[in-house]
Amino acid sequence: MADEKKPAGQALQEQLGQLTDQVQGSQAWSSIFRPGSIFRKGYNDSPRNRSYVIMNSVLYHLHPVKVKRHAVKVSYTLCLGGLSFFLFILLTVTGIFLMFFYRPTAAQAWDDIQTLQTAVGFGLLVRNMHRWAAHLMVLSVFLHMARVFYHGAYKPPREFNWVIGVMLLQFTLLLSFTGYLLPWDQLALWAVTVGTNMMGFTPVFGEQVRFVLLGGVEIGTDTLLRWYTLHVLMLPFVVVIFMAIHFWRVRKDGGISGPL
């Protein structure tokens, strides 16, 4: 080290070392990081520390300490499930940003989007990201399902997790569809008109289904409020619960499937 030659540098290093010890020995620090956390004593690469990274962090809710060797092969999963989850997070973050500038009424919605795109810093970019990530998520969830099917990963003991997964696919479509109306432009209005007309043909109580979805007999400001609430609150809430069960079952059913 170059510092060892210079006494001034050495003194500084010692002081820094003392400060580090002081911080890491403080009650606040040790109350934040669990015993064995790599932030208590620093990290050097050893099998024990590799385990501690997972065991003593919140990641332990998601990942076990070790997985089957084939499970980390990108060519097996193509990361599709994880990326669907990540896109959900990305959509939540960008969506919260959009919520700051949007009022779900027929009189204001379109103007708010227009203002967001022209007068808000990064407004256009964030809206673009929200839109493209949403399409990407529909695609990745769909491909994830195909991947799971072709690997036969729905077979016992994973039957129920497949059922949860198909539910999640439907919720993803619903999330995307409810978001489609919110810009309140011609594309939104008529795409949703076509979509909800289809649902009106549900046998026996088709009219009622359509009425509940639209909050009236035709699309209007009530529909907008209804779909906004579904889009930003109810569906994400349901999806998070289903995802929690989905991820939990992945581990309980013995990690991901395979090798073939």
Partner: protein, 239 residues
């Protein structure tokens, strides 16, 4: 921690005193069972309990001569065989241990890189391609054609062929129902592709069916939802 039965404690004390008296005993075998014989509170309680239960009847007979005078064991200890546990009976040793790797760094690094790649892709795409925002919604101006979001265009395509109840509800409903029930319908236990030719073909046909319908609905339908070729009539498609 545990309450040591009186007779065992006495025996241990006697043995300890004897061992201190003759300090030069053989030390090699003493390491075999130091915890069990030392008389401190190191004996697991369940073993102790089992030992006393088993030893209740024979204890006066066998323990009497053994404890004070025996001296036959190594280092002055007296040991009694409680039970023999064969290795297979409590240890569940699998014939093929699984080959596992640490999640950190092997899995987390891959996940991080994948997330980074997707973020970058979304960011770059969003910089160069704007999300559509058409003019304000107008109930009196129906665009021609009116199209649903792309993932519903397969359904809209079916609408041109069947009664709306069949196209919009029955066919997708049955499709979804069968999809959910797939693991309960498919009883074939094998996961190898060569054993699942039927299931794989069926799913591929199913996926292709929707993919083709979505493609047609997206790119090959023009004004009036009539069939067109996009290279002749242009694209009528918004994301």
């Amino acid at each position: 921690m545990t309450e040591i039965p009186e007779h065992l404690r006495k025996r241990a004390e006697a043995a300890k005193a004897k061992a201190q008296g003759a300090a030069g005993g053989g030390d090699a075998p003493a390491g075999d069972a130091p915890a069990a014989a030392s008389g401190d509170e190191k004996i697991p309680s369940h073993l102790l309990d089992r030992g006393t239960a088993a030893g209740d009847q024979p204890a006066p007979a066998a323990g009497g001569p053994a404890a004070p005078t025996g001296g036959s064991g190594p280092d002055g200890h007296n040991q009694r065989l409680l039970t023999v546990v064969k290795s297979g009976s409590i240890q569940d040793t699998k014939a093929t241990p699984q080959d596992k790797v640490h999640v950190w760094p092997h899995l987390l690094l891959a996940e991080f890189l994948a997330a980074l790649a997707v973020t970058l892709f979304t960011l770059l795409f969003s910089i160069f391609v704007n999300a559509p925002l058409l003019e304000l919604a107008d109930f009196n101006k129906t665009p021609n054609p009116s199209k649903a979001p792309w993932y519903f265009l397969g359904l809209q395509e079916l609408l041109t062929m069947f009664h709306p109840m069949v196209a919009g509800v029955t066919i997708p409903g049955i499709g979804l129902f069968v999809l959910i029930l797939a693991p309960y319908i498919d009883k074939n236990p094998s996961k190898r592709p060569e054993d699942r030719k039927f299931a794989i073909s069926l799913m591929t046909v199913h996926l292709m069916f929707w993919a083709v319908l979505v493609m047609i609905g997206s790119f090959f339908r023009g004004p009036g939802f009539n069939f067109i070729f996009p290279w002749n009539s242009g694209l009528f498609f918004e994301l």
